[in-house]
Symmetry: C3
Subunit: 292 residues, 3 copies
Amino acid sequence: MKHLLSMKHLSTDEIMMILERAEQFKKYGIRQTPSPYIISNLFFEPSTRTKTSFEMAELKLGLDVLPFEPGFSSALKGESLYDTVKTLEAIGLDALVIRHPEDGYYEPLLDNVNVSLINAGDGSGQHPTQSLLDLYTIKEEFGSFEGLKVLIAGDVAHSRVARSNADALKRLGAEVTFLCPPEWAGEFDCVNCWDEVIGTSDVVMLLRVQHERHDEQTSMTKESYHAQYGLTVERETMMKEKAIIMHPAPVNRDVEIADSLIECGRSRIFKQVENGVYVRAAILDMISKGRQ
Amino acid sequence: MKHLLSMKHLSTDEIMMILERAEQFKKYGIRQTPSPYIISNLFFEPSTRTKTSFEMAELKLGLDVLPFEPGFSSALKGESLYDTVKTLEAIGLDALVIRHPEDGYYEPLLDNVNVSLINAGDGSGQHPTQSLLDLYTIKEEFGSFEGLKVLIAGDVAHSRVARSNADALKRLGAEVTFLCPPEWAGEFDCVNCWDEVIGTSDVVMLLRVQHERHDEQTSMTKESYHAQYGLTVERETMMKEKAIIMHPAPVNRDVEIADSLIECGRSRIFKQVENGVYVRAAILDMISKGRQ
Amino acid sequence: MKHLLSMKHLSTDEIMMILERAEQFKKYGIRQTPSPYIISNLFFEPSTRTKTSFEMAELKLGLDVLPFEPGFSSALKGESLYDTVKTLEAIGLDALVIRHPEDGYYEPLLDNVNVSLINAGDGSGQHPTQSLLDLYTIKEEFGSFEGLKVLIAGDVAHSRVARSNADALKRLGAEVTFLCPPEWAGEFDCVNCWDEVIGTSDVVMLLRVQHERHDEQTSMTKESYHAQYGLTVERETMMKEKAIIMHPAPVNRDVEIADSLIECGRSRIFKQVENGVYVRAAILDMISKGRQ
């Protein structure tokens, strides 16, 4: 594997290989790579969990990490991402983990760049490592994807996660339904009401309300969003016995999900965070060793 | 030791144990811990010396450190400290060093958190590692605390250091007097004039005028503060022969203390900084090894 | 070598020694130093390539690096550079790499400071490691400096690079000509037109238009700057057969140089970046080992 750009670029075989490698790391521990491999994490948007998760995976693999703070870089002098990446390549970096606000920021880089690129989120496009850790968490729970009913609820149109997950889950045999306010549906086909879906879903995957991205657009208060589209305490009681709750976090408490449900028995929210380290270690391991 | 939260939580035995471990580190060097232990430094307020001091202690102990920049974290997306801490715990961190502007920020974390917490300053509350390095510096100088006269001069009400130190010093047998402008005394009993105390104090511990915290409140200029409440060149000449000057820094030169006194023979200001590394290494060593 | 402050402080022998050490590192790889040596990079101005280049050199030499983010340091509390440096020295740092907006910021530090200082750029003064990597790149290309004709084109008066390079190149036997708009010439003697110099120069060294430093001053548009003072596609065709193009970067594409020339056969722009790591490693190696 040379780059990890989007779920679209991964075959189902490749997805399963990543999930299996992650599983081995979780079972037997992450082995340190003895070979020198130098990486940097370029986060042009704020993030705690994704950045720290990558850094933990890099630490456990024994990779060398060069710090990079975009808020204090030449990007402030108007340097393009292409020039930044070519510069870091010339300095000797082997791989770059990049989160960037622009959709498909990596496209103009691919022709001329030798360094490996790992997409940690592009605009409202893809966020493949988040998708893979979601898939891992589902597989860990249910063993396989065949016939699973997955409900993705929330800000579908603005969510990287929704886009990345929907396609991959379908390819792997799951059935995906979206639930969201009509004005957030975008090009997706969505249901509008929990009653139709809450009792039959195996996985309820909540999305973050992206206050940063659409301050203006909706007249809904937090309370009315929660009442209509959030996972309330009452709705949780209607879930199937073994159904689980997922959320990519950070959570807006009492908006997408009732505060008291975040650490409830069905919630896999912090387990997703934990699994993220193993999935990212699997990807970095495969890329740093140039393995298919 | 599981956490280090405040001086109140430490018995005098525990304080003495920390000071002794620090003394051994200073004498014989800081030994690297071979066991893997992963830590992060969460500074939600600016700091050079405290953060760098912790990082030096961590480096010398051979701990693994994950970078964390709160200015670029999900805190910007409104994530609570509790969620940030639970996330970092799920990612696999063993301990967190935290400076946070809120008094007692750690209280709501204690029930649900497994990671060790080391308080690097909470609001105008406690700053236990600063207190411990102050105590270390006094003990290094005088051998013991019994009967020592310590004067704490300055912004008593807004100072973490004043609160943390006063109680601990008294418990260890020292006599503590405060000197400050009446409007900054808060709940403390303060003298108002140097003449009463300058000739009898063994330790003159100056506090920083916190311009950040009270821009408005006083009509005093820097010059008049220095003249009335600062350690002037003239006052220094009235100090006891072996008396020392301390300041947690950063110093406002010619406000709390005359510029020319900062590196004078009595000043322990940069020695305090040096000692901070040993004290923090002692604490991290005890916490990372789960020792009492 | 104790400090690296400016090109003025280096004899031609010392310059040649640095270039030779860098050449060995490039040929045989950078050897890890086994001795403990702790360094920090203090960048008070934004930079990608210089900071990352130093960090790569430090990593390859096996030096210990403490992170420092000035945007989040006590500098915000008004602490002077002197106090910051004395503090970091007390904490136990051996060397500091510093970029600072003030010309000659290091002068007031020299008398009282034991830590080694490596100047990574001071205001519009010197930037000696950039000069040295430029010299290295020229020497790598032509073998020696004797009789080489070097053209430095652009914002001569505001450029650290121009100042540092001009003097060193002349001392090493090269002939230096400046080309710039009359209002940017400062104290330098400049030609005003490419025709006089483009056909005879061995090295065309372009400088960055410093939009940050002089927003107001010129009525020239980017297009008219490029047409009059930039290296256009047409001018490149008039260069000598073996002549090369250099630029310290970040480049303002289609201002100082036509976009299509940046990665052309004559361009050494990304090679300069690559060479920077070897040159900085050579300097750090000499300083950390206390060698002349």
